[in-house]
């Protein structure tokens, strides 16, 4: 595939890796704030191949992961209604609410449908005028333009059986919340390439300046990540703290103004709860008052649902990078992709699922280590397939 395959060239990958090793003289801690980047890093073992001392912390970059339990419970309450067709992106279906998830609800007969694009949800509303169609509008700034367009289209065409359950979050406020935290260890960031394709990178310039952290806008293929890491480490080694763009083929400084305008026509910035972190002011989107008739929370009267998080789940600490899944007592035991406690284990991009899929920390007994080659299982031990379930 053009513009994908070229960025997976193994020879270039190893060249980049060698250059990273050559220029690194001290330990550094970096963070990527994007589920797709986490997926590539873990799947390709990029963090394991970095120089000793360079640590990648996986930040809260997965919108599925950071959707608070409360929003999932609201979704479940709405989807359970017989008059509702509940539409959603695929990965939200297995996110556990307090007592069940959308996939289980579907098994019990609820009309829950996966859609590829929010416009598909609008089409379903047009095709089913006697049902209420609700769309679970989850995502970062990358997805907001698509979700906004769906609402705008519904408004333009006078569709009254369509509404959205909004759970939008913004990246820069999350970064500053992390940087403000006393336990923050992150020294440089890889910024999410597609978030920046929409928003540009002007919002990150004051962050880099104020907190003195390099920020490199980075793509998603292995070569992109390696180059982004190289650029970040170079800045650290040279004591610079600027915003740089690795993902030059897709991102411009001003982003896509048309998309930004559409988003601001439909949404306004407001406070948002982040799973495990709590409420961060001005960190999410909510529908503007004049689009209130498309707000599923009001339409179905679920605004009053409040939920507390499960105590064994340390999703919050995982998402801020304070802990890794290997520090979690429930990882691999109580909590696994088959029986997820929290969203980082549900979404295949979530840190915990990515670790689990790569087999990190699943060797029997012994201490868990963040960067350990595969440990052989002793002969006579139970099949590791059993242990890892």
């Amino acid at each position: 595939m053009k513009y994908l395959d070229e960025y997976r060239d193994p020879v270039l990958a190893r060249k980049l890796l060698a250059e990273i090793h050559r220029i690194t003289t001290r330990p550094w801690t970096l963070m990527e704030v994007c589920g797709g980047q986490t997926h590539t890093i873990v799947k390709q073992g990029i963090d394991e191949a970095l120089p000793e001392g360079v640590r990648m912390i996986h930040g809260p970059g997965c919108p599925v992961c950071v959707t608070p339990l409360e929003q999932v419970d609201k979704a479940l309450a709405i989807a359970a209604r017989p008059d509702v067709i509940f539409t959603s992106y695929g990965d939200m279906l297995r996110v556990p609410g307090s007592s069940t998830d959308l996939l289980a609800l579907k098994a019990r007969g609820a009309d829950v449908r996966i859609v590829y694009s929010p416009l598909d949800a609008v089409r379903i509303a047009l095709a089913n005028p006697d049902r209420q169609v609700v769309f679970f509008a989850v995502g970062f700034e990358t997805t907001a333009p698509a979700n906004a367009k769906a609402v705008a289209e519904a408004a333009r065409r006078g569709i009254d059986n369509f509404s959205v359950l909004v759970s939008h979050v913004l990246v820069p406020p999350a970064m500053t919340a992390l940087l403000d935290s006393p336990s923050n260890q992150v020294q440089a960031f890889l910024a999410a390439g597609h978030v920046c394709a929409i928003m540009g990178w002007t919002e990150y310039e004051p962050i880099a300046a104020t907190y003195r952290v390099p920020i490199v806008v980075t793509g998603f293929e292995p070569l992109d990540l390696l180059e982004g890491i190289l650029m970040a480490i170079r800045q650290l080694e040279e004591c610079r703290h600027e915003v740089e763009n690795q993902y030059v083929r897709a991102v411009r400084r001003e982003g896509v103004p048309l998309a930004q305008q559409q988003v601001l026509e439909v949404f306004e910035v407001g406070p948002r709860k982040w799973r495990g972190i709590g409420e961060i002011p001005a960190s999410g989107y909510q529908l503007r008052e004049r689009f209130a008739r498309f707000d599923a929370e009001r339409k179905f009267d679920v605004e009053a649902i409040r939920t507390n998080e499960h105590p064994a789940c340390i999703a919050g600490a995982i998402l801020t990078g304070d802990k890794t899944p290997l520090d979690c007592a429930a990882y691999g035991t109580l909590c696994s992709p088959q029986r997820p406690l929290g969203a980082p284990m549900v979404s295949s991009e979530g840190t915990c699922a990515a670790f689990f899929a790569a087999g990190r920390g699943l060797e029997r007994g012994g201490s868990f280590s963040n960067a350990v080659p595969l440990a052989p299982i002793e002969a006579g031990a139970e099949s590791p397939a059993e242990v890892s379930r």
Partner: protein
């Protein structure tokens, strides 16, 4: 929030007021909304996320990135890099053929 992949626009049409394009992703074809990239024309590559074009791929910049990477030299003729998570070094030399050597 990320899953955006590049594809080539093969057709553009109006769908009830929305500009829609047929996009070819290396053999998979799917419609996408081009409302945010109105300057795109047939033959352009765009990044598609949940059925919307969110960026026009700058082919010149893309080539520059790859050329720069290919030209990146390594000072020693053979430099072995080995992170703590690897069982053997990734050996890099300038005359390595493309593809994995192990």
């Amino acid at each position: 929030m990320c899953l955006g992949i590049p594809g080539r626009i093969t057709e553009i049409r109006d769908d009830g007021g929305l500009p829609m394009g047929k996009v070819d992703f290396g053999g998979v074809r799917k419609d996408a909304c081009l409302a945010y990239i109105p300057e795109a024309v047939v033959g352009d590559f765009v990044i598609i996320h949940v059925g919307f074009a969110i960026s026009l791929v700058d082919e010149v910049e893309a080539l520059k990135t790859l050329e720069m990477l290919a030209a990146m030299g390594v000072i020693e003729p053979e430099l072995a890099t080995m992170g703590p998570g690897m069982s053997e070094p990734a050996v890099v030399s300038d005359d390595e053929p493309a593809g994995i050597t192990s």
